[in-house]
Amino acid sequence: MVELNAKFVMDTVLPRVLKAAVWGTFTFVMVYYLPLMLIPKDIPPNILPFDYATQLFDFALISVFFAVVGQLFSGTVIGCGFGIARALVIIAFFFVVSEGGVFNVTLPISDLTVNLRLDISTLLLMVVSVNLLSIAKNLFEAISLLTEKSTRINLT
């Protein structure tokens, strides 16, 4: 039994954990460090309509969490469930951060108070569409996995 568990850990768990760690690190670099490096440092802090570093970090945390659990449970129905959850969380996150797709910000510029209205609803619609596709993909995957399981004939 102990031998079997060790074999299971070495063959299944360890590669998954390593893969999850690599994916988590890769996701963090791609989603947080890279955009942070690309954004120019000389932007005045009151020009952007939100605290982009904090929002980016929050998004990175969500992305890393789902990347790690997605890899740990890949090829399982739980993994598909996490895939659907990730899509829903990302949709909700973008809705909250973008205030429903329309930013309304008041910027003090020298003596003036400038009201800025930025409508990114098209971009938000694209993000929602991609995540809906992702939900569909995960549903198909889950159905496929369950179908394979239920149609497998156990001859022993």
């Binding site: 009201n115 209205r117 409508d119 993000v127 569409s129 596709l133 993909k137 198909f140 496929s144 179908t147």
Partner: protein, 261 residues
């Protein structure tokens, strides 16, 4: 099923790449839009004056700027609209520099239809609402709005009438000397005729006179206006009353009442 899943995976990856590419290039494009504002010029026109604001937009980004709309709304201190001007640039493609001028014509008829007296006597401010909108890459509409107040300097600021003194002028008339002072806070010199009608507290016209005035911008005026009255009307003079002031220029006439005494 496997093919459908694979196709959905590919579609998702492609769409994410498109979104990321658009987001990154859009941010860079916004950073590379160079907007230059010129100095506001005041130009005379056949109907009044035109405030002209030249500007240029150099779109060094990757996307087109469409439907640029610059609108200004000028209102007087009471909120009455004096002008609504709009400048529209349908498209600024990437890599192009577009120069334009936003013009705010102030029609003299509109100004003259206003109640000019408060504007002549008291410093005030006009309100300018500025609205700018554009469609970035025909996908992200951006709108900016702000309010600017433009100070108005009254040409007859702190207008005051001093103590009136009366002295005999000749055998038939007496001379009344009325000290008048004010400050020209306007951006323009004022040149015209200041007529004065002298009424007692029973609203009887006792005398009238006029003087030509020419006061440069930001200068004070202090002088005496001499009016002449018949000797038999001297008895009608009262310690208090009203002065009917009439200021005339070749372009307009404005009148108001000032109490004395």
């Amino acid at each position: 099923m496997k093919i459908a899943i694979r196709m959905l995976t590919i579609a998702t990856i492609i769409l994410w790449i498109i979104i990321l590419f658009f987001s990154v290039t859009a941010v860079y494009s916004v950073m590379n839009v160079d907007i230059k504002l010129g100095e506001v010029q005041m130009l005379p026109s056949s109907e009044g004056i035109i405030f002209s604001l030249p500007f240029s937009i150099n779109n060094k980004g990757y996307y087109e700027l469409a439907d640029l709309n610059l609108t200004t709304r000028v209102t007087d201190p009471d909120g009455t609209m004096l002008d609504l001007s709009e400048t529209i640039i349908p498209s600024i493609p990437q890599g192009t520099n577009v120069s334009s001028t936003h013009k705010i014509p102030i029609d003299l008829d509109t100004i003259l239809s206003m109640d000019l007296v408060p504007l002549l006597l008291n410093d005030s401010s006009f309100n300018i609402e500025i609205f700018a909108g554009l469609n970035f890459a025909r996908a992200v509409p951006v709108q900016l709005s702000t309010n600017v107040t433009m100070p108005w300097g009254a040409p007859f600021a702190y207008f005051s009438v001093g103590t009136i003194s009366v002295s005999p002028y000749n055998s038939t008339h007496s001379e009344a000397s009325i000290p008048v002072s004010f400050e020209n806070h306007a951006i323009l010199d004022i040149t015209g005729t200041l007529k004065m009608e002298f009424y007692n507290n029973l609203d009887e016209l006792i005398a009238s006179g006029m003087t030509a005035i020419s006061v440069p911008s930001q200068q004070s005026y202090a002088d005496r206006i001499l009016v002449y009255t018949r000797l038999q009307d001297i008895s009608k003079l009262t310690g208090s009353g009203n002065l009917h002031m009439i200021f005339e220029t070749p372009m307009f006439t404005v009148e108001w009442w000032e109490p004395y005494g």
